[in-house]
């Protein structure tokens, strides 16, 4: 599992509320990523980070913000959750012997 955890694993929230998802890694990897996965769309990159306080947008960043104040944690915030943000969210890190990418277990978010 490459030392990646995500919390919470499941969450149900109401439209308009802020939500923060956490990705934690134990191996000091520099690169971290947030994806969402929806039927028919595959994996889509939301934001990524290439170091503490260094982040960049992915293809579906609208409505999301991120923060990385320390190497091990990458937070994804939905500023005001909408039903279209109901999805499974995966965190990933780039590590391993060949610098390959590994995924966390995922967070299932439902916005009602």
């Amino acid at each position: 599992d490459a030392g990646i955890t995500q919390s919470p694993r499941h969450k149900v929230t109401e439209t308009g509320t802020p939500v923060t998802l956490r990705c934690h890694q134990t191996e000091n990897h520099r690169y971290m990523y947030w994806y969402r996965q929806d039927p028919g769309h595959g994996l889509r990159l939301i934001h990524y980070s290439y170091g503490v306080k260094d982040t960049d947008k992915g293809e579906v960043s609208d409505g999301y913000s991120v923060s990385r104040s320390k190497t091990e944690d990458f937070l994804l915030t939905l500023e005001s959750a909408t039903s279209s943000q109901t999805s499974v969210y995966f965190c990933a890190i780039k590590g391993g012997s060949m610098y390959e990418q590994y995924f966390g277990p995922g967070t299932r978010l439902t916005v009602t």
């Binding site: 690169y31 994996l43 990524y48 992915g58 995966f90 060949m98 390959e100 590994y102 277990p105």
Partner: protein
Amino acid sequence: EDKVVQSPLSLVVHEGDTVTLNCSYEVTNFRSLLWYKQEKKAPTFLFMLTSSGIEKKSGRLSSILDKKELFSILNITATQTGDSAVYLCAVEPSGNTPLVFGKGTRLSVIA
């Protein structure tokens, strides 16, 4: 625009069959191509390929890359029901650029 296309989108085979999944790509500054298997959870890493013509193998799964023709194949021999999953192909355009994913091939292996 960088692009990864997988084919077929879905496939149904019987146990014991051999399958070939395809991944073609158009990216700038190619660094690597990766294969993942996804069951009802997070994608799990299978292979990373960086050089043409060198087969990567793990049990009944193998993969090879052709950088001239810009494609890769993933072979699964003697398929089992446990091979049923979505197989994802991704390409890394350069060392610091995020992966570009294909839409995946859904493989169903029936007994």
